[in-house]
């Protein structure tokens, strides 16, 4: 093509032929050749979503071992902009969701509010960034959010290889199954060759294949990217079972099923899903603050400090309560916070038990029992190291 173009001969208007100065300028810089047969390029078409890409790019970012752009003291940045940027989910009932006015609420959201109250003395100074399962870690690594409070399961891979620190556990979940009653199943082990609907991008998908591999049972996972699509498919009969975290199953059965009585939740929990907030590595002070605000909320429940009785409790004679609420020792100084950091957090959102009841417990649409999420001295797993 280049050769043909170079060999082109162009009609020229030699300057001398023109004669006078007013003649048109010689056209010497004509670029193209007479064209060949007119040819149309392919009609434009933008390609569809290729799902593995985001994951691949996130991986690339990690492989390059690039330093986080916003390394440094997160606390200073939060104070400077007078706002905590909190990564939350794009809508998980009871954990983080926006109402019709765009106000956020839920257990994970209350953790953000408690930290904002402890650090900025105002639980409303939080900007919520809704993140989906695939983008959540990248957003934290790149510094888009200060904190990821988005029902994220603590696993070794995530803790050790993603440049993150899991801080503390705010909810112990497990994965279960929902099946139609008419299949007459009583155990997950009877799901041989069953098609099971599952949402992608979470630990759920991997737990499913791990569990049945261990059991030596063959199943066919049917994977959906969107929650709505996955349950729609299940309730329209595409799969024989639906699997997700137990915290969501009861609600899906009671609210999303066309007839709740036609479905039942199998007794097995096939995984451990400890959920908790995550911070970036490289900022130990911030890591400590997030961790200890959560411990303070749990400890407040243990000592019976509630949103309502907070002011009376400040005058309590119990040294542990005095330390917690800052009425005797200054426990905040060690964290780089004010003396009443824990009292502010409890005042904003209540103690852990109150947060639980309001968002996922008996006072919420989810109506989940405390179960393993009760305090350690009431038969549960919620145990905070002492504040002293």
């Amino acid at each position: 093509m280049n050769r043909r173009r170079a060999n082109c001969r162009w009609p020229r208007l030699p300057a001398e032929m023109a004669g006078t100065a007013a003649a048109p300028a010689p056209v010497a810089r004509m670029h193209s050749c007479p064209t060949f047969a007119p040819r149309l390029t392919d009609p434009m078409k933008l390609p569809n979503i290729a799902r593995p890409w985001p994951a691949a790019i996130a991986l690339l970012a990690l492989l390059l071992h690039l330093p986080a752009a916003h390394a440094g003291r997160t606390l200073d940045q939060v104070r400077q902009r007078a706002q905590l940027v909190c990564g939350v989910s794009t809508g998980v009932i009871g954990f983080s969701s926006a109402d019709s006015q765009g106000r956020w609420n839920g257990l994970d959201v209350d953790v953000c509010r408690a930290i904002a109250a402890a650090v900025l003395n105002d639980p409303n100074k939080v900007k919520y960034v809704p993140l989906n399962a695939q983008q959540r870690f990248t957003a934290l690594q790149s510094g888009e959010v200060d904190l990821l409070s988005r029902n994220t399961t603590w696993t070794l891979t995530r803790d050790a290889s993603l440049g993150l620190h899991f801080t503390a556990i705010t909810y112990y979940d497990g994965q279960g199954f929902l099946v139609p009653k008419k299949l007459k199943l009583t155990s997950a082990k009877q799901l041989k060759n069953a098609e099971i609907c599952v949402q992608s991008g979470t630990t759920t998908e991997k737990n499913l294949s791990d569990y049945f591999k261990a059991q030596g049972i063959k199943i066919k996972p049917v994977v959906f990217e969107k929650f709505e699509a996955s349950i729609k498919a299940f309730f329209s009969g595409r799969c024989q079972a639906y699997t997700t975290d137990a915290s969501a199953l009861a609600f899906i059965r009671s609210k999303e099923a066309p007839r709740p009585d036609d479905y039942l939740i199998l007794p097995e929990l096939i995984s451990k899903e400890p959920l908790g907030p995550v911070v970036r590595r490289g900022d130990d002070e911030w890591f400590a603050i997030v961790k200890w605000v959560i411990f303070a909320l749990i400890e407040a429940e243990e000592y019976g400090v509630t949103q309502a009785n907070l002011e009376q409790m400040k005058a309590s004679a119990d040294p542990a309560i005095q330390r917690l609420l800052g009425s005797a020792e200054d426990s905040g100084k060690l964290l780089g916070l004010e003396r009443d950091w824990a009292a502010r957090a409890v005042k904003a959102v209540g103690n852990y038990g109150e947060i639980f009841q309001r968002n996922v417990g008996s006072a919420s649409p989810l109506k989940l029992p405390r179960g393993v999420n009760a305090l350690w001295n009431k038969g549960g797993l919620m145990y905070a190291p002492p504040i002293r």
Partner: protein, 355 residues
Amino acid sequence: MNQVVATQAWLRRNLFSNVFSGLTTLLLLAAALRWLPGLIDWMLLQAVFKADAGACQAVNHAGACWGVVAEKYRFILFGRYPHTEQWRPLLATGLLLLVIVASGMRLLHRRFLLAAWALVLPAFFILMGGGYLGLSPVGSDQWGGLPLTLLLATTGMLLAFPLAILVALGRQSRLPLLRGLCMLYVELVRGVPLISVLFLASFLFPIILPPGVSIDVLLRVQAGIVLFAAAYLSETIRGGLQAVPGGQHDAAAALGLSHWQAMRWIILPQALRAVIPSMMNSAVSVFKDTSLVTVVSLYELTGSLSLALAGDAEWRSFYLEGYLFIGLIYWTGCYAMSRFSRSLEPGSGISRPLA
């Protein structure tokens, strides 16, 4: 009597002109009789129009729950924009739509139109972003819904178009370096999906930037969309350029026009006119592809709908009605664009040259 005959004649001419057409008519009629009553029943008769979750759940999907739109329309249309300030995106969207419609229907003289765009675009950003005239500042990551969709699509096309022309011309250049660069750009950008361009722009870019330097996420994403759309559009335009017969170049040269004059007055008008349908195709694509920016935490129309419903226990199960609502918005936009494209095709003042 005459009327009956006329009707019969009309029927025969339009619906039963031959066996195939007659069968199609009957088939469509049967389908309408079979499905239409149920559809009307679901969409209107049994539907709940009030924003009452209890009533919607009582109907249990036997009728549409338009109440979900009544309850959530502000969230769907404006996304995460602060609730009390939502008159600002409303006004901004209204202004932008007005000037788009005025441009499309050629209601204004060209000179006024340019002025209108020059006024409305800054006004849009001032209204949305705030920080001036006593408006409280709202970060661009909190813009959402319809204004964001419109902004990304409109500025995407407005900026991609000139860039695409330059790249298309660059690919025909005689300078090997320029030609190579343009080709590299097109092949590189065309070789990756838009979603990965957006991911690069949103997440990888801030990691690469030196610490302390940050570029607004909306700007990064908009740049990504412009670069992406321009790569495709430039190939469309190059196709148009190749369709212009060489005689046109010669004729322009014979008239003594310079290269750029020839391009401006002879070649480009014909080339662009030849590819109007294709270009409108890209415009429609860009409009709909804006829904992909959800993956980088910008919640445009589609994103804000799922954000509005996903976490709401009472309304979550009525997302079908929500999707129908935004489907209608997208369809209106795309249909308007295709009408506009058709209005451009005949009588644009240049007769088609012989190939």
